[in-house]
């Protein structure tokens, strides 16, 4: 069953186009990474899915239209915007009490159990916690909600690599099961490779790449080409070429591995390699639109 089904999502802020006709199909039980440079339209896309901004186009989330059925929809959707949105004045126990008081399917014991594995004190205010702790708190609240769709918008922004790794580990171990769906945006792609089931690059309001992680390895190959085979390799239409230590490194999409093995050393690219290849061609990543 489709969890998110979108056609022609369009949103502009004044004269800047944030979403330029996006089609999206996310099945239940997937973990989709929506990846793009700052200002590519990731956040706008998520906010449309959550019914937080008005937009044009067709959109169904869990069978509901977020524009008109937002109040019912939020019962089944959990959401972490970046770390800065937990109110700074709230105390940890107040946050738990409040969510338990308003959310119909919040498992308080689960949140408490998760928090007890951290050093977060119940009487602390959010403003007294470190960025990493705030994220842990937010994650504890969100994981204790029995939601069908979890939306994470740059959840690990500003965290060091240890916290980021820990964040995704907790998510996979303690939360994800095949009946839930997760959509995550980030521009820190390193630690996501083993987490995602689907990958989507978004740039300037458009989706520029879509790929299931099952196909990732068979589709994309990095080749460190022997200097004398370069012309031959270039003829196979690589999607990207760069120089490193005097060798040319070419990235191919959908070219037979057997054929490429003759031309040089093969390696499976990381998401970051692909990101640079696909978006590096496009003009300046920073001159995009408002998030």
């Amino acid at each position: 069953m489709a969890c998110i089904e979108a056609r022609g999502l369009y949103k502009s802020y004044g004269s800047t186009v944030a979403l330029d006709g996006i089609d999206l199909h996310v099945d239940e039980g997937r973990i989709l990474g929506l990846i793009g440079p700052n200002g590519a339209g990731k956040t706008t896309a998520l906010h449309a899915i959550l019914g937080l901004v008005p937009f044009r186009g067709e959109l169904e989330v869990l069978g509901r239209d977020p524009r008109t059925e937002r109040d019912q929809l939020v019962r089944d959707v959990a959401f972490i915007a970046d770390v800065a949105v937990l109110p700074r004045w709230i105390r940890v126990w107040q946050a738990i009490d409040y969510v338990a008081g308003v959310h119909p399917r919040f498992d308080r014991a689960k949140a408490e159990a998760f928090l007890s594995k951290t050093t977060i004190k119940r009487s602390s205010k959010v403003r007294e916690l470190s960025k990493g702790m705030v994220t842990q708190l937010h994650l504890a609240l969100v994981m204790a909600m029995d939601a069908k769709l979890l939306v994470l918008d740059e959840p690990t922004l500003g965290l060091d690599i240890l916290y980021r790794k820990q964040f995704y580990d907790s998510l996979l171990e303690d939360y994800f099961d095949r009946s839930r769906t997760i959509v995550v945006t980030t521009h820190q792609v390193e630690e996501l490779q083993d987490v995602l089931t689907d990958l989507m690059f978004i740039h300037r309001g458009r989706i520029v790449l879509e790929c299931g992680m099952e196909d990732f390895e068979s589709r994309y190959v990095l080749v460190k080409v022997h200097p004398d085979r370069l012309a031959e390799a270039r003829a196979l239409a690589p999607i990207h070429e760069r120089q490193a230590l005097g060798r040319s490194i070419l990235l191919f999409d959908g070219v037979e591995r057997r054929r490429l093995a003759e031309l040089g050393d093969l390696r499976t690219p990381s998401i970051a390699d692909l990101f640079v290849a696909v978006l590096g061609k496009a003009p300046g990543p920073e001159d995009g639109v408002a998030p």
Partner: protein, 305 residues
């Protein structure tokens, strides 16, 4: 990872069945805006301080009372009757400032993204916020006023008894329960009468991208100024003045010669029938409803600043 000393037994999560979004929304407003309770408390403390000073020498004044002089007797009870006024005024001001920030602050600090991720509708949120000036603050004002009067009365009685003077004249003049009814009536009347003002402030707070106070006040002043300069009338200004001060005129029988700040100490001065039949009340409530509906609509669509 240290074991935390304050680990409580997780409470049984029976919350699933009984969510009370409105109740919890009001509680979180009080958590966030602690000045809603603290500011009236501070004012109350000052009122008590002043009234304790006024009690000095009370025994002498009671002793020297010429029998059967009602005006002197009334003057004796004056501090008791005046005590609630600054407390109630403080609550009105707190309500106004609370409203100006209520829907603006959550957009400015982006916490609106957290609140909106939870199943609490915009209607519930705006109603919870509106209930602070319309229900919570009047209740606080009433509680603190009564507590102040009781404290003053007990202190006066104790002081008089210690100096060997009968407290009877003070008690007979105070008419405590009448005062309670008048306060309750006055607070209800003002909450209803001022509801469009609070609604307007909430609306501006949901709309403004910065400086909500200026947006709340300047358009009204400008409208009055334009009218005054262009056609040399002041209907709009008098309309505003009526909204600010009209509750007293519509809800109380004013003694001839006494102004709005006159003495309200007798039940016969209450005129609820005239109040509920005054068009000013109903147009005000209509405006309040429109403003609140617009605030709900804006909260639905506005994004963090």
């Amino acid at each position: 990872m240290n074991p935390r000393p304050d680990t409580r037994q997780p409470r049984e999560s029976k919350a699933a069945a009984e969510n009370r979004p409105l109740y919890w929304s009001v509680r979180r407003e009080l958590w966030e805006n602690r000045f809603v309770t603290i500011a009236p408390l501070v004012v109350t403390a000052f009122v008590l301080l002043g009234s304790m000073i006024a009690l000095i020498g009370l025994a002498g004044r009671v002793r020297s009372l010429p029998a059967g002089d009602p005006e002197k007797l009334q003057a004796l009870a004056e501090p008791f009757r005046m005590a609630p006024a600054p407390i109630m005024l403080a609550c009105l001001l707190v309500g106004a400032f609370y409203c100006l920030d209520a829907l603006y602050g959550e957009r400015r600090d982006r916490s609106i993204l957290f609140w909106k991720s939870l199943p609490v509708s915009d209607v519930t949120t705006v109603l919870a916020k509106a209930s602070i000036p319309l229900v919570v603050l009047p209740l606080i004002a009433l509680l603190l006023s009564v507590a102040t009067q009781v404290t003053m009365l007990l202190a006066a009685t104790a002081g008089l008894l210690l100096s060997g003077v009968s407290p009877a004249p003070v008690w007979s003049e105070l008419r405590f329960f009448q005062g309670l009814v008048i306060m309750l009536y006055g607070l209800t009347v003002h909450a209803l009468w001022f509801s469009p003002i609070y609604g307007w402030l909430l609306l501006v707070s949901a709309w403004a991208r910065r400086a909500p106070f200026l947006w709340a006040v300047l358009p009204l002043l400008s409208a009055a100024a334009v009218e005054w300069i262009s056609v040399n009338t002041s209907y709009f200004a008098s309309l505003l003045g009526y909204r600010l001060g009209g509750a007293m005129r519509e809800a109380f029988v004013l003694e001839p010669g006494s102004g709005v700040d006159g003495d309200f100490s007798r039940l016969s001065q209450l005129d609820p029938l005239r109040f509920v039949s005054s068009p000013g009340l109903w147009t005000g409530l209509l405006f309040a409803a429109v403003f609140l509906a617009a605030a709900v609509w804006l909260r639905r669509r506005r994004e963090p600043i």
